[in-house]
Symmetry: C3
Subunit: 360 residues, 3 copies
């Protein structure tokens, strides 16, 4: 897009899309603390904080936590939450070349129209609605942001899930007191469905290395994360004094862990490179089925030790990613973690709705 067509190019608008990659460790640490502080306030102390601010929530993918926590959190702070469902409620916002008369509307138009009514746009898009081309959903959100005169917040794209990562870091800090040199295992886990993006582990990897944690990324060969993200995480680890290693052995990886965070994600190598091309589904499923044993069960948590905590962004596929006993057991923090989604997002909304500088 050329600069002359860009909407409000001079406005200081904060988008919240690639922040895990770009926001510096210092401000990120402050953000974690501000989220914890905001959570501690009673609702009556914050129920006017976003009074009369309207946010559009555009859901290309279903969700339980994201929808419920955003709609609740914003309204509990006095704001106006409007969920928009492409294809049923609204014309589907589409990029040039993908438009269908009377079914879609160009992203640049939708972004500018919504900017005329409300105060922020939040988008959830990954996987199928972006043709499973890695990075496509991320680009889509940035296109929205380029045209919107109001902040655009990612509610998960195919690269990052910044709201989840902030809730994760809040939860870990609440549990461990601090983050520096604490040991976290970010592991792949088996699921009967391969349809899950890498957004959660990638955002968490960046957030945890930024906070100087000792990070182990564990997965079977074939589930490598984005090289650019890995490189950025290595640099954060080096600069901040944490560490980052990769393991192909879950049992070994979890020894001495403070946090075991294991969830499924798809193999980037079996996704199509271009829109319209198919997922290599046979190879994807074979790779998944060859690794059915990557489940967090009691034995794995015993390897980790009794002081280790279990986290998962949910929804968890029970009996596949995790056993019932771990999920419902005393080491599981998953419901505290889910509850923190709302508080993390409230902190983010409070921040971007008082625009200071454009950070994307």
């Amino acid at each position: 897009m050329t600069a002359h067509t860009k909407n409000n190019p001079s406005m200081d608008v904060q988008d919240w899309i690639d922040v895990d990659l770009t926001l510096a460790p210092g401000p990120y640490a402050e953000l974690i603390d501000s989220a914890v502080q905001l959570k501690a306030l009673s609702w009556s102390e914050k129920d006017k904080l976003l009074a009369n601010k309207a946010v559009y929530f555009i859901f290309f993918n279903q969700s339980t936590r994201t929808r419920s926590s955003f709609l609740t959190g914003l309204q509990k702070m006095g704001g106006i939450a409007i969920a928009l469902d492409p294809g049923s409620g609204i014309y589907t916002p589409a990029l040039p070349g993908q438009e269908i008369p009377y079914a879609t509307e160009r992203v640049s138009d939708v972004a500018r129209v919504l900017s005329g009514f409300g105060d922020a746009i939040a988008i959830r898009m990954y996987g199928e609605p972006a043709g499973w081309v890695y990075g496509q959903a991320n680009r889509y959100m940035k296109e929205f942001a380029d045209w919107a005169g109001i902040p655009v917040i990612s509610m998960e794209c195919d690269r990052f899930h910044p709201c989840q990562a902030l809730a994760d870091m809040m939860t870990i800090k609440e549990r461990l007191g601090g983050l520096r040199k604490k040991r976290i295992v970010i592991s792949w886990a088996y699921s009967g469905s391969w349809h899950k993006p890498v957004a959660v582990p990638q955002s968490l990897l960046l957030a945890s290395t930024k906070c100087a944690m000792d990070v182990v990324v564990a997965h079977p060969p074939g589930f490598e994360l984005d090289e650019q993200v890995m490189a950025a995480a290595e640099q954060y680890a080096a600069e901040q004094g944490g560490s980052l290693i990769v393991s192909h052995d879950l049992e070994e990886a979890v020894r001495g862990a403070d946090i075991v965070y294991a969830k499924s994600w798809c193999s980037l190598g079996h996704l199509p490179r271009r829109l319209g091309e198919p997922v290599n589904e046979a190879a994807m499923v074979d790779l998944f089925e060859a690794n059915r044993h990557w489940m967090v069960d009691e034995r794995i948590m015993q390897c980790a030790g009794s002081s280790a905590s279990y986290l998962h962004c949910l929804p968890a596929d029970r009996g596949q990613e995790v056993s019932d006993k771990v999920m419902d057991g005393p080491q599981s923090l998953v419901f505290q973690q889910a509850a923190n989604r709302m508080h993390a997002q409230n902190a983010i909304m409070a921040r971007v709705l008082s625009p200071v500088s454009r950070t994307r």
Copy 2:
């Protein structure tokens, strides 16, 4: 479920699922009065009553009155109403054994997650989403309640519709002044669709016998209500000084009635016993078609007498359950009754959102 896995087992949380069966006559009568009193207040007197309380409304079945009245009533009292539609908006909450990776999420997880954000969960589920197995939707709601740390309100299951019954009793009391020894006919009526649960007549039967009304349950053979519900109603009638008889003759049943409440419901005998088994649809339809004459028309209302009132929970199948002339005529209270849905539910929400004791 074992006690150790139960969420917040010690909390005094009021659920609103089986209250028609379990709430004692005294408190129930008080509740009717409190609903009438709440209705009488101007909105400016109650627009902060549930300020900042967030309620999730999970709709497995469509509805006009239930959706509109709950969303309106809660927000007019200052609360936050969030409608969640399983399968489109959110992952479908599922019981163990019925889970599908990335399409469903276990009820115990959804209940605990929502409890971390909001203040109550309301659920509408009967029929198809519960495989038409009688009692299945009721059990589903109780599973939700067992895990939720916040109240669970039934917006109609396959056994009970407590919000409807309370609106019904308000309407009857407003009309008749009192309830004791007033004569109500709760009748089956023909519809071109058999897909209607017994929840409405069963809740009304319990509510009306609790209030010492003289109750006639009228239906063709084959449309018997749940034996446990009938037994409880008989006991309420005996204890409170009302009466309960069953009739298979609509014309005879309505003579001298103060209230004629006739609606369609399915035959419990033709529903499957186990999930996955089919409805005996041929027999169901035959039974319905054999009773096409069970319609409330002018002749039936003449049998009842000019002081009788006509009630229906709506939507009514005109020309099948009821004639246009009755529905739109001077004896019909159906729109006052529908309006009372909102006030009844407001009274229920006001009650359960100030938790005192767990009544389910």
Copy 3:
């Protein structure tokens, strides 16, 4: 419908359906000014204006601007916005003779039920949900209004789109300072989809002649507007001192124009006369394809001159109705126009929710 069945026949309720046809020029001009004034107020000056007023938004057709602007605008004025989607959220409101047990509910019942809970009903319906029979959606809304005890607002039917026209007139007045004798071209334009109603040009035609503009209606033969609307517009032009001519040549039509407003609409001649009959789709498509050249591009805007402004109600089919360069160029007012939707509708809601007289 006979008078005795009409709900609240004596109430002074303002509906907002045919106002473009019926509201006199004087009051209409005042309404434009009141919308401009309301827009100028800060949100804190108007955030209690519709406090506690609940409006139901029934969407038979998808929309981006209409949904977003109504939900935002009402809530920013303190009101309660409830979107209802027929067929999924609620039983589909149906006219007598089109009812299906347990899938639909008669309009007269839905209208009266909603009147018992809330304060206004807004409906969007045209095209497919009304069987493409011209006038059917308009009649449907009036049926709703006949039974509702609260105002009914059209969010676009098959004849009129009064909210769009008011936003259009606000935008033109903001741009030109005044309206009298200003030259507007209301033109058809090509689209790859014929599925667009005549509501927008018809409402705009009535509004602009009422305001004494010099109006050119431009379209290829076969795209004639409703004769009754044309006749009313001619009368407004004559009475108010404006003018109205029809042109079949876009290039000639736009010369000297202050406003070029070009959008696609279907050919009324190829729509069915009765419900259940098909659209003459082959002839419709042929007529469209024969006129692919009716696009507003740079050349057309050059014919109009550099002081001319381009308007479109959106969504626009880029590369069909309009070129990218016009849409995104300096003469385009489309995003200001879209933003005015919210302010226009706020003025309408503020007016009808303080009922004075029934104007339909």
